[in-house]
Symmetry: C4
Subunit: 246 residues, 4 copies
């Protein structure tokens, strides 16, 4: 979105960037705490739930504000449909793990600009963060089920690893549909990850092994140099003619 | 196929496009209904079966008409062998799931022209449709078997997901050979899907990261500009010579 | 290998091509018969074993003859090490499944020249042939083991499919080390297959989506055309000068 | 690192290359012996442990020496962080399998220069070496656990194969967290391996199938030839003019 089209919206997004990043981190910490410390006292549990819902509310308010500030509301609605779903769907209790999507999006927006040029670091960072969120979410979803095979954070992290690498031993797998929803998102992530890694290696090899393109660039430079010398010679010829005429 | 070669065939295909699309959707809905509502009254079951066979008959008639209208019948036979098999094989009761192939082909032909330029949307759409059909087909094939691990639509959808992503936990897998036929088609689809995603990312990265091609195009444009100025100078020289002569 | 370097070897290979192809097919049929018809009478079993060993002997003699005919024996030995291993290893009873490698190589040499330009047909053909051989070989290796999960050809074909697509449910898997050797070769084949499919799609997309290369070629042609007109103008100028002088 | 920047460091690395390679091989042999021969007498066990720790100590001393010799210590620390971790982490008993990382790095540095231009040989060699180390490490980690499914070297090698190819049947899988750490490293290796293979095939196909680049190079050469003849003609014209003037 160009700043000139939507100056008020762009201004809000610039001012809201830092507070939202902080809130995303707060949300992640509170969510991890709630999931991992399942013997926490009821009081602490209530506090964590309040924090989680409060952060969610801020994200909802942020979406609303951006909608109000947008000049072309229809375009904003269409291009930010994902944002709306990520805010609305977690209202349903069973879909509350989807709150993590908003958090991931905020963190990605904050840091991608800084490290995207280092493809390796970016891919490693995103994979680690997505894997952490998926482990927490699947543990949250599965733990209470009687047939669950994922009951500790170690199991959840191991399951995440076997899934994102598409190895899939099947010693651990989700049995609840919330857990399977997490698995579906993680598999899409795993396929995209494989694609990015393969694609990066392929594009690097294409450039490295071919060498033809370098030849072409050199040949082009030779052509231009040749043309310049031709032009100089022509100019000289013209000067001689003038001298002969004079 | 060029319209000029086969004007009558092309005319028929243009006129038949919309009715066949509608029938394909009708087939999908009836098939899904039959598979999902397995406690339906016998009367409803008969109605759905009649609809399914009627649609199949229309597809068979469509193939026959196209064969009759084709001028070069041998070429039509060879290039439409897949269509013939997709019409003939489902006559065998065990291969009736293959009727879905014709439906998928018709829907693909209808919509691919419109959204193919948005590769992402097209891939997502095809994957969803193929996944839905595979889930219904495997459920239809497996449910009755005593050792089946896929007995609900939820199980079938989950199995489809783990298969198309090549994760393959093995908590659910087909045991009948009809189910394994569906699995084989789905795996081919999964491999192709991975290939398309990886290939798209790779081609995008090759263009993005290399930048060499852009350099080449710029160098070419510089060469042509240089040549034009050279030509102009030469023309001026000629004019001067004429003036000197005159 | 150039014909001019090794005229006698090349002549032998040309004459031996057809007989070896026929023998390879005979071997495959006899091997398939022996594996699938495991209740065959002892007499038939002996006949099939004699056929299999006779074909193997012919392949061994073919290798020996080529070695004798080769002028540069050291180069032949190094570049045909795989052929030697594929002939020698199956002497050990446990490695007899490796005889299929020679057969596959002969069939590949015979047909690859004809259909390699149709990449799709070639990949499909090779995959089917390798899959068939792997199914037979794993069934042969596993069937007799008490813990085997692969005991029928249907199981073996299903296992081959789940392995080559890297899905790997784990409902069927080899337990003998001969079966695991077949699995190892099949996995290498599966990875290469995935690579070829992805690579083909990627290279097709790179060409299709970029379009930059076409631009470059057009620009090049424009440059050459421009240069030719420049040359013509220069020639005319020279003619005018000569006329002025005369 | 350029020799001119860090002459003393480069000199040390050149001199230390051979001894470290020998020590890496010694380490691998001793580690394999300790893992495979688990009924060794206590005396032999002590000897092997001493050898392993001695080699580790030499690697630690090598890191320390290089740090001391480095002129730009900060840059050395940052660019050799992996080396430091590979030396420090194995001090913890549970992470002792990570000592293999240093060994693999030394062997890779020694041989990669020689065979990297033969991509196929290099990939096969690295895969075999990594697979061997992973098999030994996972066997070492798992064997003692009561629920272990990997208890012999055959099992470990088979598990390594199913993991690196991302097939993952799930008939064998690690249950200890040290074993899962090995699995994580192996999966990253498997994904990278797939990427390299696919990328190599893709880059080869892009070059082979396109052929456009060859056309461009030819067109470039035609352009330069055309330019040279133009220049010669211009020089001749100038000579004629001078003659006319004289």
């Amino acid at each position: 979105m160009l700043e000139t089209d939507e100056p008020r919206l762009a201004g809000w997004e610039r001012r809201a960037e830092w507070p939202l990043t902080v809130l995303a981190v707060v949300f992640l910490v509170a969510y991890a705490w709630e999931v991992l410390d399942n013997r926490s006292t009821p009081g602490l549990h209530v506090v964590l739930e309040v924090v989680l819902w409060a952060v969610w509310l801020v994200f909802a308010v942020d979406y609303g504000t951006r909608f109000v500030l947008a000049v072309d509301k229809r375009r904003f609605f269409v291009t930010h449909l994902f944002d709306l779903l990520a805010v609305l769907l977690p209202v349903v209790r069973q879909l509350r793990v989807l709150r993590l999507l908003t958090v991931l999006k905020v963190l990605n927006r904050r840091f991608s600009g800084k490290i995207r040029h280092q493809v390796g670091v970016y891919v490693a960072g995103v994979t680690t963060l997505v894997g952490l969120c998926a482990s927490l979410a699947v543990l949250d979803a599965e733990r209470a089920h009687p047939d669950a095979t994922i009951t500790t954070f170690g199991d959840a992290a191991w399951w995440t690893l076997t899934t994102i690498s598409t190895v899939g031993y099947g010693d651990r797998y989700p049995v609840t549909w919330e857990g399977r929803l997490v698995a579906a998102l993680l598999m899409i992530g795993g396929i995209a990850l494989l694609g990015v890694i393969t694609g990066t290696i392929a594009s690097w090899l294409v450039e490295r092994l071919s060498g033809v393109e370098g030849q072409v660039v050199e040949a082009e430079q030779a052509t231009v140099a040749e043309l310049r010398s031709l032009k100089a010679e022509l100019a000289e010829l013209r000067a001689e003619l003038r001298a002969a005429k004079g």
